[in-house]
Amino acid sequence: MRQEGKLHPLVKELKLDLETGKLSRREFLRYSTLVGLSATAAFGMAGLASPRKLLAAQIIHRGGTLKVSSPIQKVTHPAQFSWVAPSQQLRQVAEYLTWTDSNNITRPYLLENWEASEDLKTWTLNLRQGIKFNNGDEFTADDVLFTMNQWLDKDVGSSLMGMVGHYLDPTGIEKTSNHQVVLHLKRAEIAVPEHLFHYPALILNHRTFEGDFIKRPHGTGPYTLEMYREGERCVVKRREDYWQMGADQKPLPYMDSIEFIDMGAEMAAQISAIRAGEIDTIDLSDAGGTDVYQALKDDPDINIQPATTSQARVLRMRADLKPWTDNRVRKALKLCQHREKILALAYFGQGIQGQDFHVYPKHPEYCKKDTPQYDTEKAKQFLKEAGYPDGLDVNLAVGSEWTDVVRFAEVLKQDAAPAGFRINIRTMPNSQYWEKWTEVDLGITPWTHRPLGTMVLNLAFTADEAGKPVAWNETRWVDEEFSKLLNQANGTLDVDERRKIFCKLEDIQMERGSIGIPYWRNVWMVTRSRVENVESHPNLYMLFNTVWLKKS
C-alpha cells in the first residue's frame, strides 16, 4: 500500500466522510477507487475484509473447461475492435490497465495505482512490477507507450482515437521510468481510468506486436491462445506463471481452459445447448438477450444474474425541427410516458424507471430526483399553449429488430393519444435506422452503457467550439447553461461537488431537454449452475480470472 502522504487529497476527505457517516461503505469504495486507491487498500480502510479472503472460505475446485457460445469474429488489431465479442476471447489472453467492475467502480489492474493532479490534467500511472507476457517478456512502460500510440495512430483507426484522442496527444505520453507513465492531457478529464478499460484498450507487447494479434498472441493474461478459427472456435489454455494469485495461494486462473464456440446469431439453438449442458454460458454482449432471459429464467440448473445498466431506449426529439423546437411540445410528449407500464410491457419489469435525463441511479454522480408522472391532461394543456389545440400528427422512427423499442413505441402511441398526439410508427430494419439515427426528427435510439454520468452528456448534448452540435448530438439540443455546468462537472473530481452540479444538470434536462428515458435496462449473465464466482457486468464483459467450476 502507498504512504498516506502520497494519497490523493480526496481520499482523506472520503475517509472522514465515511467515519462521520456521510458516505456509505459502498460509496467510499467507489469514490476512493475512482481517484486511484487500490481496491485492497480501499477495502482495508473501509474496515472490510478483502473479497479475495472472503472467497478463501469457500472450497475452490481447480481444473475443467468452460464452454462459451460466442461469435468468433475476425480480429487483427485489438485496438480496432468494433464489437465487444472479440474482446471476450482476447480479454482472457491480454489485459487492461484498469478494471471497471460491476458496480461501476474502476480499480487498478495492470496498474499498481494512479494519481491525478488537482487540475486533472496530469495523470501518473504506476505500473505493477514483475508481470510477464506469456512469451516471457517483461511488462514495462514501453508496452503502455506502444499501445497508447497505437490507439492514437490514424492508420490503425481505433475507436479509442475518438475517445482518448480528444484530450491526449501522442506527445503528451511521457515515460518517466520503466514502470511509470505520465499522461499530460490537453484538457481536464476525469474519465481516464474508465477509458483505459474500454474494450479495445488491451495492452500489447511492444517487442512482438506487428498488427495481427492472432499471429503473435502475446498478452499478460491468465490464458494463452491455442486456436482461433473465425466463425468456428477459439480455445484458450491456462498458463502456469500468471501474476495474480488465487485464494488457495497458487497462481490463477482456476480453470484449465475456455472454449468459445460460434453458434451463429440464432438464439434458439444456444438456449437448447445451455439447457442440455453442452455449453456453460452464452455471450450476450452484442446480442441483447431478452429472449434468453425469458426462456431460461425458471430453469433450476441455470443461474441468471441481472446487472443494472445505463443502457437506455432514448425517445429523442430533434430540437431544431418543428414541432419539437417548442419545449412545450417536447414536454407534452415526455408527460405521455407511462413509465411503469412501458417498463412492464416492453421489458417485463426488468430494469428501473428513468427520469428523462441521461444519468442513472448507479452513476456515482447521480442526484436523486422524483420520477415524473404520466399526465395527459397537462400534456394536452401544453400542446394547446403551443398552438396545437387539435393535437398533431408525428412520425416515430424505430428499428424493428429491437423488440422492446417497438413495444415501447406501441405503448407510447396508445398512451399519448388522449393528449392529442397521433403517432405513426415507422418501423425499419435496425441497419436502416443506424443509417439515419441522427437525422430523423422523432425516433427511439438505443444508447449503450457507460460507467460515468458525464460520458453520455458530453457525447450527446454538447456543441463543438464553433457552436455546432457534436457528431452524436442526435437531437441538436444545445443549452448554454447546461454546457457551462457540464464543463464544470468535467473538471470536478470530488464526487459530492460533482453531484451538486449534476442536480442542476438533471433539472435542466427534465425541464427543457430533448429526450425521454422511460427505463434503464437490465442485462443478464446466464451460466450453468456449475460455474462459480461469476460477476454480472453491465457490459457483460467476461472476466473469468477467478471463475471456477464445480466438480461434476
Binding site: K74, D153, K154, G264, R275, E435
Partner: protein
C-alpha cells in the same frame, strides 16, 4: 453414354460460369454495405474507406470478378516486377511473399519515410534491412513503390505526394511522413486455380471453412437420405399396392400431415418434447473439435426433423406412381398370365413405378444440401446452408460464390446420376 457425360460436363462449366456472374451482379446490386456489416454501424468514413480498399472492394466490378475467377497474383507480379509465391507457415497461416534473387522471400513495410524490406532466406532466420533504393519516381514528382505488405496485399506505397501522415515508429517515436499505402490488391490465386479467396466476414480463407461445412451438411443430409429413402419407397409401394385400404389411408394421411408442417415448427416441437420435456437427447448441436459422427446423439433430432418432412413427400409420390402402374393393363395381363403375385409386383410394377420417385429424389438431394438451412439454423448445426445464409446476409461475396458453385455442382451432378439411373429402370431410355 460417354458423349452424353462429356456434354453434361461442359453444360456444368457453362452453368457455373453464368451463375457466378449472376451472383456477383445480384450481390452488387443488393442494398447494404460490407464494411458496415462487418465493423458495425459506428465506423468512421475513413475506417470504411480503408476497409474497402484493403479488401479490394474499391475496384470496378469487372476487375473484382476477374480477380475472383483468375486470381490477382499475375497482375500484382507485373506491378511488383518479381515472382510471387504463396507459402503456408508452420502455424498454418497463409502468407504471400515476393521471391527475390537467391531464393530469398521478400516483403516490405514503411516506417516513417523509410522503406524496410523483411527478408526471409530459405533456411535461416528472417531479418530486416532498409530498402529505400527501390523507390521509383513519378514523372510529375513524388515517388512510389509496388511491393507486398505483411497482410497479403500487393501495395502501392507513395511518398512525397504532398499529404502528411503521422506514423508511429518504435524506437524513434512519431515521424511525419508524406505518404503511405495508396492502393491495395488483395492477393489470391482465383477460383479456377482452386483458391476462392478470403471470406470478407471472417478473414479466413474460404477453402478452409467451406469443406468442413460441406462435410457436415453431407453427413446430416446423407444420414437423413439413407433413412428416408428405403422407408419411404417401401411404405409407398405398400400403400400403392392396396389403394384405399386402412394402411394406405393411415400412411397417406400421416405422411401428408408431416410434410405440410414446416420444418422449423417440427424442429422446435421435437426439441421441446425430446430435449426439454423428456430430456432424452440434446436439442442443439455443439460439436467443438469433434466431427458430427462422433456425437451421434446430437444428430438424432435434426435427422428426425428432416426424415419427417421428406418421408411423407416421397411416400406419397411413390404411392401415386405405384397405384397408377398397378391399374395399368400390362399388370393385369401379367396377373391373367398366372404369374405369382410378388413376381408381378417386383419384376413388372416396381421398376416402372420408380421413375417418378427417382426424379423427385434426385431433385431433393439438391434441396437437402442447400435447403436444410432452416434445420441447420434451428439446431445451430454448422453446415453449408447456414454458411451460405450468413455469407449472403453479410454480402460476403467470396464465400457466397464458393458455396454457390458447390451447389451448382451438386445440382448438375445429381441430375446426371438420375439420368443414368433411368436407363437401368427403363431400357427404352437412351442417350447419345
Amino acid at each position: 453414354m460417354a458423349k452424353f457425360i462429356i456434354r453434361r460436363f461442359f453444360l456444368l462449366l457453362l452453368t457455373m460460369f453464368l451463375v457466378s456472374i449472376a451472383v456477383f451482379l445480384i450481390a452488387e446490386s443488393s442494398p447494404g454495405n460490407v464494411a458496415r456489416n462487418v465493423l458495425g454501424s459506428f465506423i468512421t468514413p475513413e475506417q470504411e474507406a480503408s476497409f474497402l480498399a484493403q479488401m479490394g472492394l474499391d475496384k470496378p466490378i469487372w476487375q473484382r470478378y476477374l480477380y475472383w475467377l483468375t486470381g490477382s497474383d499475375w497482375h500484382a507480379e507485373k506491378k511488383v516486377g518479381l515472382p510471387l509465391k504463396r507459402i503456408t507457415t508452420p502455424k498454418g497461416f497463409e502468407e504471400w511473399w515476393a521471391v527475390g534473387e537467391g531464393g530469398n522471400l521478400l516483403r516490405w513495410k514503411m516506417e516513417g519515410e523509410d522503406l524496410i524490406a523483411v527478408v526471409k532466406p530459405p533456411d535461416s532466420e528472417t531479418f530486416e534491412r532498409p530498402a529505400n533504393d527501390r523507390w521509383q519516381t513519378y514523372p510529375e514528382g513524388g515517388s512510389y513503390f509496388w511491393g507486398i505488405d505483411t497482410a497479403n496485399h500487393a501495395v502501392r506505397w507513395e511518398k512525397g505526394s504532398g499529404e502528411t501522415v503521422w506514423n508511429f515508429v518504435m524506437g524513434s517515436g512519431w515521424m511525419a511522413a508524406t505518404g503511405g499505402p495508396a492502393e491495395y490488391i488483395p492477393l489470391k490465386k482465383g477460383f479456377v486455380r482452386g483458391d476462392p479467396g478470403v471470406s470478407l466476414r471472417t478473414g479466413r480463407p474460404v477453402s478452409k471453412s467451406i469443406f468442413v461445412r460441406l462435410r457436415n451438411s453431407l453427413v446430416l443430409a446423407g444420414i437423413a437420405f439413407a433413412i428416408v429413402m428405403p422407408i419411404a419407397l417401401f411404405l409407398g409401394i405398400l400403400a400403392g399396392l392396396k389403394e384405399g385400404s386402412l394402411p394406405d389411408r393411415f400412411l397417406s394421411i400421416s405422411g401428408m400431415m408431416f410434410s405440410v408442417i414446416p420444418e422449423f415448427a417440427t424442429g422446435i416441437f421435437l426439441i421441446l418434447i425430446f430435449s426439454h420435456w423428456l430430456d432424452l437427447v440434446p436439442g442443439a448441436t455443439v460439436f467443438g473439435e469433434k466431427a458430427p459422427w462422433e456425437r451421434i446423439d446430437m444428430l438424432i433430432l435434426p435427422v428426425l426433423t428432416l426424415t419427417l418432412i421428406e418421408l411423407g413427400y416421397i411416400l406419397r409420390i411413390t404411392r401415386a406412381s405405384m397405384a397408377e402402374v398397378m391399374r395399368s393393363s400390362y399388370i393385369r395381363t401379367a396377373f391373367l398370365k398366372g404369374l405369382p403375385y410378388w413376381r408381378v409386383v417386383f419384376r413388372h410394377a416396381v421398376r416402372n413405378a420408380l421413375i417418378a420417385p427417382i426424379t423427385v429424389i434426385m431433385l431433393h438431394v439438391n434441396w437437402l444440401m442447400g435447403g436444410i438451412v432452416i434445420v441447420e439454423v434451428v439446431f445451430g448445426y454448422p453446415g453449408l446452408g447456414k454458411y451460405l445464409l450468413d455469407s449472403a446476409l453479410y454480402k460476403d461475396i467470396n464465400a457466397l460464390e464458393a458455396g454457390t458453385m458447390i451447389m451448382v455442382m451438386v445440382a448438375v451432378g445429381t441430375q446426371l446420376i438420375a439420368d443414368v439411373i433411368y436407363t437401368f429402370l427403363n431400357p427404352r431410355i437412351r442417350y447419345g
